[in-house]
């Protein structure tokens, strides 16, 4: 073969290789086009699934705070773990073991989590993020964040008001009633997996931040609530009772200031003051008198024959009185809680009028309070009344009412005859601080004229001064009230020897700021009368509230109601929440007067141009201080009336955050960067 032929053959071979390379390139291009253009979406999705993960960011439910801004319940982030023991680095195992031990994780699971022969462990339980810190971000440990509710205060009553959750599902209380308001909007973020197995937030897909639920400001005043619960607990224990209820409300606005319920074992699963009706007994008697006074069919000083405490009433039933007297005035009928007197007065009324009176007072109907499971009580329709019903109802039997209903009805006497709708919610604010809803007092109806309401308050003062409620009496202020001692119906009989002792008071009597109802179920320690068992609860609540600055008492208005000068105490007093304010002059005077050197508990009333008609404190928003100098931020907060403490944190801002409603005088923490 000549050289030319050999070159020609070589060229052919090169051409063949070139064609081969070209075909290969074309094949690659075709395959690339197939992968990228035809199946691009499928492969991209597969890659995204392998390399990224969409993480759900749970939104905190809205906080609930009391009327003074104190947190009652708030959301807290918890974390649960799945562990892949094989993936955990050798150097992390000791830390994993220590942290699981500190978290008190179940031992078998903790052991399995360290066993490298295992592939996957679902660790039971949810743990506070603050305690589980070392596990978060550890390779081989997969975290899931969840929100959990945390009671910010220890109070059985508040817990019952607030209610509870089962996982994410609201099951009781305000959590259930206002679930849609409290729920936040869940957020999300895209995580990408790095070559080393770490997960980082994707820079391409911005995080959708979770939005917190709305914040509820309750009408509950934790100071009064705390006092009421303690007073009720002591009474239940002292009287060996089955339980009891306390309702404290502001008759002028219908705001419920405290709601306490207690059972024998101390377990409170619901607010029996709202959900469980009872026969109110003698506490219903004043309404008969009020109705008759309104129509001029009696007077407070009218004398009624009370038959020395025993009466065979119309031949159908035998009526007896605990206080035996041949006759009593109408005022004394209520003060001594005479059954004979009230049934005699009731006979001046038609059944329809009696029924309408009870209906107008709100009995047998829902009050409208936003609490699930509220009972309307039972008021028998007029057509089903029998010959016993009128006299029974006059004495508070044959109908059932909830403690809340009864407190509201007395609220009408306190509020110049106007029945108010109750509320547990004062305000709803969205996460950004915008007010979504604010409670405006709502009048249900006028039940009595102001003159009749005032006359009734005068009449009911006598229950405290000379009647059945003397153990609730105060020295410095007049109180109006009524006791009730109801026989309990057991197995169809009222003779079981079981009673409900109750007492309702208006404080102070002439311009009531509080209506307080106390009820004790089945006291078994000797005393059964409402005036002896329940009335002291009232006194304890008023004294506790009066000695505390955290409670909802308008002291300036109260100053005009004083009927007796203060006396020097025989021992040192405390308020439980605040230190006494002792001025040198007062302390000197007290030391001079008191033999044992004790000092009085002195409260300061803020200066006012009008000593008798001070405006009530209203909550205001914490101002935004972002970008302000320390001096300007302090000025802005002080101008709003807040007390300020400056602390050093990595992030500037305030606690509570800007926009949160807080009362003047509340403490605001101003965070400054170091």
């Amino acid at each position: 073969m000549s050289l030319r032929d050999r070159l020609s053959a070589l060229r052919d071979r090169f051409a063949l290789v070139e064609w081969g390379v070209a075909l290969f390139a074309v094949a690659i291009i075709l395959k690339a086009a197939h992968v990228q253009l035809l199946n691009g979406g499928k492969w991209a999705a597969l890659a995204t699934r392998q390399q990224t993960r969409l993480e759900r960011l749970p939104a905190p439910r809205g906080r609930m705070i009391d009327a003074t801004g104190m947190p009652l319940v708030e959301s807290r982030e918890l974390v649960s773990f799945n562990i892949a023991p094989k993936e955990v680095r050798k150097e992390d195992r000791a830390s994993l073991a220590r942290t699981l031990n500190r978290l008190k994780a179940p031992q078998p699971y903790a052991r399995r989590a360290l066993d490298t022969n295992r592939k996957w462990i679902n660790l039971p339980g949810r743990y506070p993020v603050s305690d589980a810190g070392p596990l978060i971000g550890m390779r081989g440990v997969y975290t899931t964040y969840e929100m959990a509710r945390l009671m910010a205060i220890q109070s059985r009553g508040v817990r019952a008001v607030v209610g509870g959750l089962d996982g994410d599902r609201a099951i009781s209380g305000l959590e259930l009633a206002l679930d849609s308001v409290l729920q936040g909007v869940t957020g999300s973020r895209q995580l990408i997996k790095t070559g080393r197995g770490d997960r980082l937030e994707s820079p391409d897909a911005p995080m959708i931040a979770p939005v917190s639920g709305s914040e509820l400001t309750l009408t509950i005043n934790y100071g009064v609530q705390d006092i009421a619960e303690q007073a009720l607990e002591r009474a239940v224990i002292a009287n060996d009772a089955d339980g009891g209820d306390v309702v404290v409300l502001d008759p002028r606005s219908g705001e419920i200031i405290a709601l306490a319920s207690r059972t024998r074992g101390g377990v409170v699963t619901k607010l029996t003051a709202v959900t469980d009706p009872y026969e109110p007994g003698s506490t219903l008697k004043p309404f008969i008198v009020a109705q008759l006074l309104a129509s001029g069919r009696t007077r407070p000083d009218e004398v009624i024959n009370t038959f020395n405490g025993t009466l065979n009433y119309k031949g159908i039933r035998r009526l007896t009185d605990a206080h035996i007297a041949p006759r009593m005035t109408v005022t004394e009928v209520l003060a001594q809680s005479s059954n004979i007197g009230i049934v005699t007065l009731r006979d001046r009324m038609q059944n329809r009028e009696h029924f309408d009176l009870l209906r107008n007072l709100g009995f047998g109907a829902y009050t409208g309070v936003s609490y699930p499971g509220e009972s309307p009580g039972r008021l028998r329709p007029l057509g089903r009344w029998d010959q016993f019903t009128p006299s029974s109802m006059a004495m508070g039997y044959e109908l059932t009412v909830t403690p809340l209903q009864l407190a509201l009805a007395y609220g009408a006497i306190a509020n110049d005859g106007v029945l108010m709708e109750p509320t547990l919610i004062r305000e709803v604010r969205s996460a950004d601080g915008t007010v979504r809803w604010r409670h405006r007092p709502r009048i249900v109806r006028r039940v009595f004229s102001p003159a009749i309401a005032q006359a009734m308050r005068e009449v009911l003062k006598h229950t405290i001064t000379e009647g059945t409620g003397q153990s609730a009496s105060l020295t410095k202020f007049a109180l109006a009230g009524k006791s009730g001692t109801t026989k309990l119906l057991r197995n169809g009989s009222y003779n079981s020897g079981d009673y409900t002792a109750s007492f309702i008071g208006l404080f102070p009597a002439d311009a009531p700021q509080l209506v307080i109802l106390a009820k004790v179920d089945r006291p078994r320690n000797g005393q059964i009368y409402g005036g002896l068992v329940a009335a002291p609860i009232l006194k304890a609540i008023i004294e506790g509230a009066f000695a505390s600055t955290r409670t909802a008492i308008d002291r300036r208005a109260l100053a005009t109601q004083v009927i007796a000068p203060p006396i020097i105490p025989d021992s040192i007093g405390y308020a439980g929440d605040v230190a006494p304010i002792i001025t040198p002059r007062v302390a000197k005077r007290a030391r001079g007067d008191a033999a044992d050197g004790a000092v009085p508990y002195v409260m300061a009333i803020a200066p006012s141009t009008k000593a008798t008609a001070a405006p009530p404190l209203s909550a205001r928003a914490v101002p935004t201080v972002a970008g302000l100098s320390l001096r300007d931020a302090l000025l802005a907060l002080h101008e709003r009336g807040f007390r300020v403490v400056v602390d050093t944190l990595a992030e500037q801002g305030t606690s509570p955050v800007a926009g949160t409603a807080a009362l003047p005088g509340s403490l605001v923490r101003l965070h400054r960067t170091p």
Binding site: R76, G137, E201, L558, P566, G573, A575, M603, A611
Partner: protein, 90 residues
């Protein structure tokens, strides 16, 4: 050709360096966010404990038993009407 190769290398190295720095920053940010969440949780827990410890329910039995104190009667509480102090202008 050599210049193109150098250019390619520079671009590649700068892209990798930028991505590495970004990831390091992201890692730091994640750590800080975790710390913040942990501290917030700790703060809520501690505040709840403080409130519980300073509640009347907790304190009342202690001051009554240990110090012999009691809630003052209504007559033992003296309300002082505080007159407004004159403003001091700096």
């Amino acid at each position: 050709m050599a210049l193109a190769l150098v250019g390619f290398l520079i671009v590649t190295v700068s892209v990798i360096a930028r991505r590495s720095a970004g990831r390091a920053l992201q890692r730091d940010l994640t750590t800080i966010q975790r710390t913040r969440t942990q501290l917030s949780g700790e703060q809520i827990k501690l505040e709840a404990e403080i409130r519980s410890a300073s509640s009347r329910t907790r304190l009342a039995p202690l001051v009554e038993q240990s110090l012999g104190m009691r809630v003052p009667a209504d007559t033992q509480v003296i309300d002082l009407q505080v007159t407004e102090a004159p403003r001091v202008t700096p």
